[in-house]
Amino acid sequence: MNIIRKASTTILRPQFNYQKVILFPGDGIGPEISKAVIDIFDSAKVPIEWEFHEIHKKRVTEQGDLITEETLKQVKALKYALKGPFETPIGKGYRSINVTLRKRLQLFANVRPCKSIKGVKTPYPGVDVVTIRENTEGEYSGLEHEVVPGVVENLKIVSYNACQNIAQYAFEYARANNRKQVVACHKAGVMKQGDGLFLKVCDDVAKNYPEIEFSEEQIDTMAFKLANDPTKIDVMVMPNLYGDIVSDLCAGLIGGLGLTASGNIGKDCEVYEAVHGTAPDIAGKNLANPTALLLSGIMMLKAMRLNDYANRIENATYQVLEEGKFLTGDLGGKSTTTDYTKAIIDKL
């Protein structure tokens, strides 16, 4: 945390047009990659000011959350937060941090853009897809029971309201980000009522966005297309479980979780995060790749309509990755976190 505190003092500028944003630096490599983001944003003169908050190792609320009421309130007040990776403590009596954030802040959508990075070799060049996943219900409602010994049931819940929220968000996202197509993924042939409802709502919402081409695809067919030729796919919207699977599959297409941004969207606030782990094996050694958190931060800037800053940092990052002279170990390079960060800053 020390480096963070120090770094943060250097960027506190008492200017009234600076917007405050929350930062949860995280565990393991979290502080190092957070510092990289702070430094890069600082060099790009992004008009935001970080407010640091902690996530605890023990429950701090009645409900067993690892995050205080004050912090939750503050996230809502400031609207935007960036979050590094967190260790999940093992044991009972508390809720995972992601569940807390999602439930308490009603973050109903998870958004994961995946774009091929020149310089990172994969069998899938030219990918540029976005997965928009319903984040609150579906198979993840936690409703399960044993009917008789040896027979268990899991209830998948699909509600009109949640479908409406996610469909609307998907089209708004497409419009705001200048995307041309939205495809709804489902298995309405099997789950005629549940996925059928999801599909019907998407279909209805699509009518309000005539400039965006709308289509539907069965989830298995979509999985085939993504694994075979993902280059024709644009924005995808889908229920919880499918989104969980597809967003990871897409991350795999571009080289893994170390390169993918993620945003959790609610009506009141948005939490952007690196979805990779805390990497305890390399923590504190200046070896971590900060790209996922950086791209998440860039996504946040776009949501804040600070597009000029976002694009400038994004271009610099892609250039450094493409040139391949300052890559971190996970990408086959030999550079340190600070070298890579400096290379991006030099390109700004």
Binding site: Q193, G194, A227
Partner: protein
């Protein structure tokens, strides 16, 4: 060599359902190749098969083996293959996906077999509206069905000399239903100590499949994950036109493409790739104790694609279905 029991060369009856979409084209290809080889099989063709019709259903039980194109009930948008699985209790669905040199594909040196529970899970079809605007779909998992699919997967791995079985699940979220499935897999795994057993969460599994698929061998999983993973493994190898498959139960066996799609977009245009169906038909031939015909067809398909460079559009060529089929016939007997 295969030494037949006396009389094994007699004609065997196999039910053939061409179905809809690309079904008639791919099953036709199989029929032409079988004729050219004088395979001792007589097809009982059910052209207008219909589950509403009791006569149809009776005929379905008549023969042990069925060759199926694609099934969709009238006015239905999506495939209806599930009805066969339920009716005949074809609980194990198997899809083969392996790299085939000479065609466009994303990954090389891959050889994966996906074994999918075919009768329950999300496909149990129990759904209702609990409140206006709120729908519940029930995923049902039973110990019995989980055990028998796990059993099938390990038995398959054993009998085909495979080294590893990976169980795919989401038990961190669906603690009870996928937990039960995993428990069954672990139970069976213990009895096969000479086969490596691993578990992987479905989302990570799909990421691994597109990044590093050579780590996988035999995979076993519940119904819906199976549907997704079959398609991913087809996608990373030669596509759905190359992946063969079958659905097997105690009394019947149904052979169709490994990924079950109607293919309305390409149906009737003479561009469909019949390879997956041809290879599936060789699974049928082996199942009936006719391995020599199976070998010949496999070699002919391979020769056509690799040596003659004759390929359909989906795998990077421009041959029609008919051209491809006649080249396969010309390559027989090698």
């Amino acid at each position: 060599n295969y030494l037949q029991r006396p009389g094994e060369g007699a004609l065997k009856n196999v039910t053939l359902i061409p179905g809809v979409g690309i079904g008639p084209e791919i099953t036709n290809s199989v029929r032409t190749v079988f004729e050219a080889l004088h395979v001792p099989i007589k097809f009982d063709v059910l052209d207008n098969f219909n589950f509403e019709n009791d006569d149809s259903k009776k005929q379905l039980r008549k023969n042990e083996c069925i060759l199926l194109g694609v099934m969709t009930e009238k006015n239905q948008k999506y495939t209806d293959n599930y009805k066969f699985y339920k009716y005949l209790d074809l609980y194990a669905n198997i899809t083969f996906a392996f790299s085939f040199e000479g065609i466009t594909q994303r990954h090389h040196n891959t050889d994966i077999v996906v074994i999918r529970e075919n009768t329950e899970g999300e496909y149990s079809g129990v759904e209702h509206e609990v409140y206006p605007g709120v729908v519940e779909s029930i995923k049902v998992t039973t110990k019995q069905a989980s055990l028998r699919i796990a059993e099938y997967a390990f038995e398959f791995a054993h009998l085909s000399g495979r080294k590893k079985v990976t169980a795919v699940h989401k038990a961190n979220i669906m603690k009870l239903v996928d937990g039960l499935f995993l428990q069954a897999c672990r139970e069976v795994a213990q009895r096969y100590s000479f086969i490596k057993y691993e578990e992987m969460i479905i989302d990570n599994c799909c990421m691994q499949l597109v990044k590093n698929p050579t780590q996988f061998d035999v995979m076993v999983m519940p119904n819906l994950y199976g549907s997704i993973v079959q398609n991913v493994v087809a996608g990373i190898t030669g596509g759905v036109g190359m992946a063969a498959g079958a659905s097997i139960g105690k009394d019947h066996a149904l052979f169709s493409q490994g990924c079950r799609h109607t293919g309305r977009d390409i149906a009737g245009k003479n561009v469909v790739n019949p390879s997956a169906m041809l290879v599936s038909s060789t699974l049928l031939l082996r199942h009936l104790g006719l391995p020599n015909f199976a070998d010949q067809i496999c070699r002919a398909v391979q020769h056509t694609i690799q040596d003659k460079n004759i390929k359909t559009k989906d795998i990077g060529g421009n041959a029609t279905t008919d051209q491809f089929t006649s080249e396969v016939i010309k390559s027989l007997g090698r």
